[in-house]
């Protein structure tokens, strides 16, 4: 039995899985379709709830695997063989023979343009949570010029039947609160509003962050969805929403609106599922062998999952799952002749 394992995806799940494989004595190959490792983590500045540096976190994930074979700008073209012996042809014409495959393909971010009523890509001062995080990293964005009034719209493309995404993205509530606090740190005189459906503060210290957002930063939370966004004669944003706690429509003029874009399936999940003979669920994420007892295993022998390829997850959940995935895979391979 070969000890070579292919990890598809070079985000946090793939990096952690590769590291764990190395620790257990396997030879890992990482195939990453983009031009660099790190996935969405590479775009982030600080991580909730304790404001840990994203780049330092990524460096810690990258450091132990600096001797692992990585194929960037590469995708899977074909997979032959099953049950413990796979011959995998990559788009760079390299063929790998591996005994197991870990699918760590992660997620895509919802395209905010699809929620046309919010005006992303139409109105200059409508940005996404990713754009704001990029601003935190680089301190430069010509759309963000000393805003006095800032709004955050939760659940953009998540829990939204209209855009065919029923799933909760898990991280947007707490990310919005983290970003709202950070924005108040940079622009202390600004008024910040969060438009939410309900706040899912389930993780450790999340509730503390939510309380701090209110008590320390004075962020105003409005339970209601934004219905439409437009621009006034000065280029400011006119935002209409419903305040469901006071049962009243609400209109507010803002200098900046941040859309908390959710996690959605990757467009190539379907083709990967065909190549690996695995299934995708109704939400387009990969389906595991059993959602409770075998949540890191695929239907086919030798195929495993890590991270958000099987649905939205937080970063700690992703890292933990990558560890669990490698253990599952190790147990599986240990039983093979």
């Amino acid at each position: 039995m070969s000890k070579d394992v292919l990890v598809i995806g070079g985000g946090p799940a793939g990096l952690e899985a590769a590291n764990q494989l190395k620790i257990l004595g396997y030879k890992a190959y990482i195939v990453e379709k983009s031009e660099k490792l790190g996935g969405h983590l590479a775009k982030w500045d600080r991580l909730f709830p304790e404001s840990i540096s994203a780049s330092e976190t990524l460096d810690k994930l990258l450091k132990p695997i600096n001797d692992i074979s990585v194929f960037l700008n590469s995708e899977i073209v074909s997979v032959n063989g099953t049950d413990g012996s796979f011959s995998v042809l990559l788009s760079n014409n390299i063929t790998l023979s591996v005994s197991s495959i870990i699918v760590a393909t992660g997620f895509s971010l919802f395209h905010a343009e699809k929620k046309e009523e919010y005006g992303y890509g139409i109105y200059d001062r409508v940005i996404t949570s990713v754009d704001l995080e990029n601003y935190f990293k680089k301190h430069s964005d010509n759309r963000i010029i000393n805003p006095k009034k800032i709004g955050f719209v939760h659940c953009v493309g998540s829990r939204d039947e209209k855009v065919c995404n029923r799933q909760c993205s898990k991280v947007c509530c707490v990310t919005a609160i983290k970003q709202a606090c950070e924005v108040k740190e940079i622009f202390p005189q600004s008024e910040v509003y969060c438009f939410y459906m309900d706040l899912r503060m389930y993780g450790r210290y999340y509730e503390d962050l939510y309380l701090e957002a209110q008590s320390k930063y004075g962020i105003r939370f409005i339970r209601g969805r934004v219905s439409e966004v437009s621009e006034d004669e000065n280029g400011k944003l006119v935002v209409k929403a419903e305040d469901t706690l006071s049962s009243k429509p609400l209109k507010v003029t803002l200098d900046l609106l941040v859309l908390m874009v959710g996690m959605v399936k990757n467009d190539d999940n379907e083709s990967i599922s065909n190549l690996l003979n695995i299934r995708v669920g109704e939400d387009g994420f990969f389906k595991t062998a059993n959602p409770i007892l075998r949540s890191t295993e695929g239907d086919s022998q030798g195929i495993f999952f890590a991270g958000a390829s099987t649905g939205p997850k937080t970063l700690p959940e992703t890292i933990n799952e990558a560890k669990a995935t490698v253990l599952s895979m190790h147990n599986y391979l240990s039983k093979q002749v």
Binding site: E113, E116, G121, I122, Y123, E228, E231, D232
Partner: protein, 338 residues
Amino acid sequence: MIVNGKQKIWSEYQKEIPDDHYFYVRSCIRQNFFPASEKTFLDIVRNKLNLDFFETEHHTTCGGIAYHSDTIPQETLMTIVARQFALMTESGYKNYVASCITSFGIYTETLETWQHFPEFEEKIRENLWKATKREFNKPEYLAHASDVIYKLRDKIAARAKHRLINKFTGEPLRVVEHIGCHYSKMFPSKGVGGAEYPYVLTGMIEAWGGEIIDYPERRHCCGFGFRQYLVQANRGYSLSNTHKKFESMQPFKPDMIITNCPGCPYFLDRWQYVIAEMEGKTYGENSQGIPVFTYEEVAGLVLGYDPWDLGLQVHQTDVEPLLDKMGIEYNKADKYKI
């Protein structure tokens, strides 16, 4: 404003509009509100652009006003619609064009309902046969008449006698576009440009030289809203809706408003007079109102029709300020001749 973003959305919401041979159905209320608009439309498409538009005197109301006022059930409405389709079938046409936005919405809703609930269609076919001994084919293409003018906008521009340019400044006229709610808000894919940033009227204005204004209450209802006006006790609500729109558009200094719905031009036009009477407030230049037009009237002005042949004298808000800006010559005395 990022124009590329809008253009991207517009490119995603294009609909197939047939080239010729249309079965045309008039609107019951437009013939009272703006009686020359449909006449102008037919004159443009038949006599200026040589297209085949057929209409029949047997056509009736679509039942839309009764339906949206909750006075007839959907089954009755669909049977009326089925009869209109039977008239089209008997006339040998496949392309159905409605003058009225409410009718367009009704036809769209009916066809969508039949697509998802075919048993409903069977029931309606049975109803129609029992009532009239008629049978029908569904239209191959359903368009609103503004879709047709949108399709023909460049041909109209090529024949233009006047463009939407302010002759005093040389600048494009600033135009507010307002689509009827039932054009694409119910079924965004059925309207040119979709629901949030509709392009059907914008495309005409761009082709004819004007500049579109995007203002905060652009998507808001004109004020008609059926029950807002039809129920007398609600009419203050109707007026306040229209008031909200004018307060929102005024800072952008529009020269004119273009619409594609029966109710919208009527209410945007008439309520300006009421607001002026109640509050002494006007929204146009020089204490005048903002002239409101149907798209056929604007096409007619561009093509050089006499303003009074277009029926502009029945507007409550004077249109002369816009005629002057476009450099259109008119006889003031003719305005009051029948």
